[in-house]
């Protein structure tokens, strides 16, 4: 069994002699050093340091983020927005400073346009309920895509069901990209809303969000972008993208269970509120209620202070390391991993080949179920996800129930991918395929 030295695999390159054929590339990040920031990656599991390749599901957290959460609880915790005493002021300042951080992170025009939500799913549901239910009706067309995560698909099915709007889909090509022909079929339709992901979490496809937003606006529609897989890995500028809504999850970008929804201020103003209750209200009588200003209109209840601060600490962390460098690092790793896996007979990779794809390697091994692949990889300390990745329509397009998925992040090294490839070899040996 493979046993890394105390500093992980970064210092012991090329342990798999059978694979010497593929030379490990270098990247702009010293990922072996970055790993040191992540306590969980430096702790053995089943006697091995984990090769954590499931960041697309959720990322690990650096000490900087954990410390920020602890610090809030130890020095600055109180009910945000609700107290005039010093601790309450500190709490409010830290919460709103976190909003400023996320506003800058997405390059939103104003902090009023950044709503803290639980995760991308809640953000997308917020748009579905508060925009969709109000502004869509019979005859209107919602356009989504066959590659969407369920969180950017089922809410629109629900909106269609409740409002009588029609839901149509942009199909996929066999490379796993949006089929522009199927987009053209929609040209005559009364499109009111386009919901599309920035990056596919099961295929690694990167969509041209700016072009989709332009198309939507040309049709008089708003564009809702699911940024869950993009914001952790590349520079996102919501103004440059031109989308109207953009949802992200902090837990996928080194943060805690917290997310954010960007929304254009004029749209947010025009929308009904979503969750109602304490804090999102200006005045309540028994007869009715007026809403608080943005962004508070959409944030009822005592705000989750430590989670927001941890989220901002995560944004600071990845920003400090640099999203360009992270992106470039992942591009190199992805090409390397793609090369390793595609060299193994019986392994099938999904989505467009590198470059121009995200760091998500979705694959099947002939004759072995995706979960069994993941289980055997676990025995090698390699953590990959198996399943439909909440993208059942995309799976169906490729006629598979599930794939195994290895996804990379700033802390992954080429060694993690070497271990992945070696693990797949073992899968094949175990199953005799």
């Amino acid at each position: 069994m493979l046993r890394p030295g105390p500093l992980g695999f970064g210092l012991r390159r090329r342990v798999y002699t059978e694979r010497m054929a593929v030379e490990a590339p270098t990247t702009p990040l010293d990922a072996a050093r970055i790993k040191l920031d992540f306590p969980i990656l430096m702790r053995e599991v089943n006697g091995m340091l984990p090769a954590y390749l499931d960041s697309a599901a959720s990322s690990q957290k650096p000490r900087q983020v954990i410390d920020a959460i602890v610090d809030v609880y130890e020095t600055s915790y109180a009910a945000v927005h609700r107290a005039v005493y010093t601790l309450g002021e500190r709490a409010t300042e830290r919460y709103e400073a976190a909003r400023d951080t996320v506003t800058a992170f997405l390059n939103a025009a104003s902090r009023r346009e950044v709503i803290f939500v639980r995760n991308a799913t809640e953000g997308l549901n917020l748009v579905a309920y508060a925009y969709g239910l109000k502004f869509l009706g019979p005859g209107d067309v919602i356009v989504s895509t066959e590659m969407e995560h369920h969180s950017n698909l089922v809410p629109w099915q629900e909106v269609a069901r409740r409002t009588g709007a029609e839901l149509r889909y942009v199909r996929l090509t066999d490379r796993g990209e949006l089929d522009t022909e199927s987009l053209e079929e929609l040209a005559g339709a009364d499109v009111k809303l386009v919901a599309a992901t920035h990056v596919s979490n099961s295929l690694g496809t990167v969509n041209d969000v700016a072009a989709i937003a332009r198309w939507a606006h040309d049709h008089g529609a708003v564009m809702v972008c699911d940024g869950a897989q993009a914001a952790p890995h590349r520079v996102v500028d919501v103004q440059a993208l031109g989308c109207d809504f953009y949802a992200i999850s902090g837990h996928k970008m080194c943060g805690p269970g917290m997310g954010a929804l960007y929304g254009r201020a004029d749209l947010l103003e025009a929308m009904d509120p979503f969750l109602t209750g304490g804090g999102q209200i200006a005045k309540v009588t028994l007869e009715g209620t007026t809403w608080n200003e943005l962004p508070y209109k959409f944030e009822p209840g005592v705000p989750p202070l430590a989670e927001a601060v941890g989220f901002a600490a995560a944004a600071d962390y990845v920003t400090r390391i640099g999203l360009e460098a992270i992106h470039e690092h992942e591009q190199v790793l992805t090409a390397y991993g793609w090369e390793l896996l595609s060299a193994i007979p019986g392994v099938n990779l999904f989505g467009p080949p590198p470059p121009d794809r995200a760091g998500i390697l979705s694959f099947t091994v002939d004759g072995v179920h995706a979960h069994d692949v993941a289980q055997i990889l676990d025995a090698e300390g390699v953590c990959v996800r198996a399943g439909h990745h909440c993208t059942q329509p995309a799976m169906r397009h490729f006629d598979v129930v599930a794939t195994s998925r290895a996804s990379v992040y700033l802390y992954n090294t080429t060694d993690d991918l070497d271990r992945l490839a070696a693990g797949v070899d073992r899968v094949k040996r175990t199953f005799g395929v």
């Binding site: 089943n46 072995v368 179920h369 995706a370 979960h371 069994d372 289980q375 055997i376 676990d378 025995a379 198996a386 399943g387 439909h388 059942q392 799976m395 129930v401 599930a402 175990t430 199953f431 005799g432």
Partner: protein
Amino acid sequence: MDDFYRENILDHYKNPRNSGHLDHPTASAEGVNPLCGDELAVELEIEDDTVQDVRFNGRGCAISQAAASMISDVVKGKTVAEVRALGSEDVLEELGIPLSPIRLKCALLSVNVLRVALGDASDDRDLEWKSA
């Protein structure tokens, strides 16, 4: 971990017993494991309150397929009440390996589908979220 995929499990996986369809099923059901999307269908021929024959059909991981294959042998000749009483212990005994809660879902897919076919609502009563 290393003996997770024992020979007999792989054998049942690759050569599933009682796979396919019955000509005249008297009861049947389909189920899905929501964690993975795998689907399993069962057909039963019940006579005199006793399972005369059974077929499983579907796709899934080695654990779920092997469990279905093993359980298919177990249920034959059993009364409906006996089949209903089958639980995680029985499946685990057949498989002969410990399972995490997530893989337990795989292993129990077949008995859950059996229960639905026998008119019980599918439920999770065997599924404790603790290490098995």
